[in-house]
């Protein structure tokens, strides 16, 4: 097992803490005026999806986790499982719904995802940061109101719901940030 100094962490670094795999989401240099440098970290437990925050003094060593990622495309749902295909050898695997968690909301046929393996077991999937989805149902918006702060509920092609600005209509294609689960913009001309 290799280790890494806490000051060298980057978003995406995988760590093994108390036997569980974590991924670094955010890290910030902090330093009290008269104290040592610390790294403020926000990490996600790759098994439970839960976030933890820690302030760790620089110089502390953390163990890196051996998390393997493979690019696979999503084929179809089979019962409660999600079937993916390895992009290199065309082998198919079934991913349990727990590993997909709430990311089913942004998962479309043929989408290329990173499937994460830890100790040979699928523990999660990473979607592209941005996905484009067709709006299948939403109330017509009030004409003229283009303020970005007011939103209304909309259903997209996966069946998931999210808030969109009032000017978005049924049939529109919208871009969504899968990390925050929030609407980004309307994709014009499609």
């Amino acid at each position: 097992m290799s280790s890494i100094d806490v000051s060298e962490l980057k978003p995406g670094t995988k760590l093994l803490i108390d036997g569980q795999p974590y991924v670094v989401i955010e890290r910030q240099f902090v330093k009290p005026g008269k104290g040592a440098a610390f790294t403020r970290t926000k990490m996600k437990n790759l098994l439970t999806g839960r976030n933890i925050e820690n302030n760790i003094r620089s110089g502390e060593k953390l163990e890196t986790a051996d998390v393997e990622e493979k690019a696979m495309s999503f084929l179809y749902k089979e019962g409660e499982d999600f079937v993916f295909m390895d992009q290199t050898n065309y082998e198919q695997i079934n991913v349990l719904k727990d590993a997909v968690a709430d990311q089913w909301r942004w998962l479309k046929d043929n989408m290329i995802c990173q499937i994460q393996f830890f100790n040979g077991k699928v523990i999660g999937i990473a979607l592209p940061n941005f996905v484009e989805m067709r709006v299948t149902a939403t109330e017509p918006g009030a004409r003229g109101d283009t303020s970005g702060n007011v939103t209304k509920p909309a259903t997209i092609e996966t069946g998931a719901q999210l808030g969109v600005p009032l000017f978005v209509n049924e049939g529109d294609l919208i871009r969504i940030d899968t990390r925050s689960g929030e609407y980004c913009e309307r994709v014009l001309g499609k």
Binding site: G35, N55, R57
Partner: protein, 308 residues
């Protein structure tokens, strides 16, 4: 983005003018403190830039105190200081420090100046004053008194999923608790005073309570978390005690393989003639962040270190 920066630079220019006006009205003398010095100070967590046989200052305090020893009463300096390895959302390796000192005054008079300065530049108002013991009790649920030994302190702060430093000293343990559970919970402008004895820096012991020193720090909530603005002292003027602290820092530096800086003998000699004094160092870039609602220090700088 570019336009925001130029607006902020104009506001900084105005802020500097207001700061100078504030001190002029109070009969302070502006000092152009030396920037190249033979000893940058030995604090363990400050790393100085070396330039030939000199160092860039990490603070002008040694020279400012020599002036107090020479009889000056009210002095301030507004200029650049330099700290290696400090870069982040709230740090830049070169930054602007405002320091001021009053002879024959305690830390409370300096804290009063600070509050008046905040009012004069349109900064936060309604400052509360809390002792560190009270703040740790209120925000973190454990009272840190200042006389704990390492083991007692470790037990006090353990728990809540905290990652304690494996080989930490008193300061590292304390700041792990402080960063986790005190600083982020400060919900209004706050002056923390009576700092634990192991974090004495250049502050004198509080008369009648050997557990704490006369040190204060000001914190204010900002759009990017709580900002530490300044650090002030009832200044240590006991030359023998100051020498002991500097020698202890020098020994620790050797032990940890940190760069060794010489002890400034002229500073020590001046302490003998220095009256009881109060002083403070305030990060002007942080103050600008707070006043302009900036989330990162680069927003208030002409160029951050990684933009050069």
């Amino acid at each position: 983005m570019a336009s925001d920066r130029s607006v902020n630079l104009r506001r900084r220019s105005d802020l500097n003018r207001r700061i100078r006006q504030f001190f002029e009205e109070r009969d302070f003398v502006e000092i152009e403190a030396p920037i190249l010095v033979p000893s940058p100070g030995l604090e363990l967590h400050l790393d100085a830039f070396a330039v030939e046989n000199r160092y860039l200052i990490t603070s002008p305090e040694y020279q400012m105190k020599r002036l107090l020893g020479a009889g000056m009463q009210r002095i301030y300096s507004l200029g650049k200081v330099f700290r290696r390895g400090e870069a982040g959302r709230h740090h830049n390796p070169e930054f602007t420090m405002l320091e001021w000192y009053r002879a024959n005054a305690g830390w409370e008079a300096i804290a009063d100046d600070f509050e008046a300065l905040m009012a004069a530049v349109g900064g936060p108002s309604g400052w509360q004053r809390l002792s560190v013991a009270e703040a740790t009790r209120r925000f973190a649920g454990v009272r840190v008194e200042g006389d704990e030994d390492l083991e007692t302190l470790r037990k006090k702060i353990d728990g809540a999923g905290r990652r304690l430093p494996s080989t930490g000293d008193w300061s590292d343990l304390f700041f792990t608790l402080f960063l986790d559970a005190v600083e982020p919970r400060i919900d209004r402008p706050t002056i923390l005073y009576d700092w634990p004895r192991p974090l004495c820096a250049l502050a004198r012991e509080k008369p009648g309570d050997s557990r704490v020193v006369e040190r204060f720090e000001a914190y204010a909530p900002s759009p990017d978390g709580v900002l530490e603005l300044c650090n002030g002292f009832g200044e240590l003027t006991d030359a023998a005690e100051q020498r002991r602290r500097l020698e202890a820092d020098r020994d620790q530096r050797r032990k940890r393989g940190l760069p060794e800086y010489p002890i400034d003998e002229k500073f020590l000699a001046a302490l003998a003639a220095m009256p009881p004094s109060g002083g403070v160092a305030l990060g002007v870039d942080r103050l600008a962040m707070l006043l302009f609602g900036a989330r990162e220090i680069r927003e208030v700088l002409a160029f951050a270190d990684d933009e050069l």
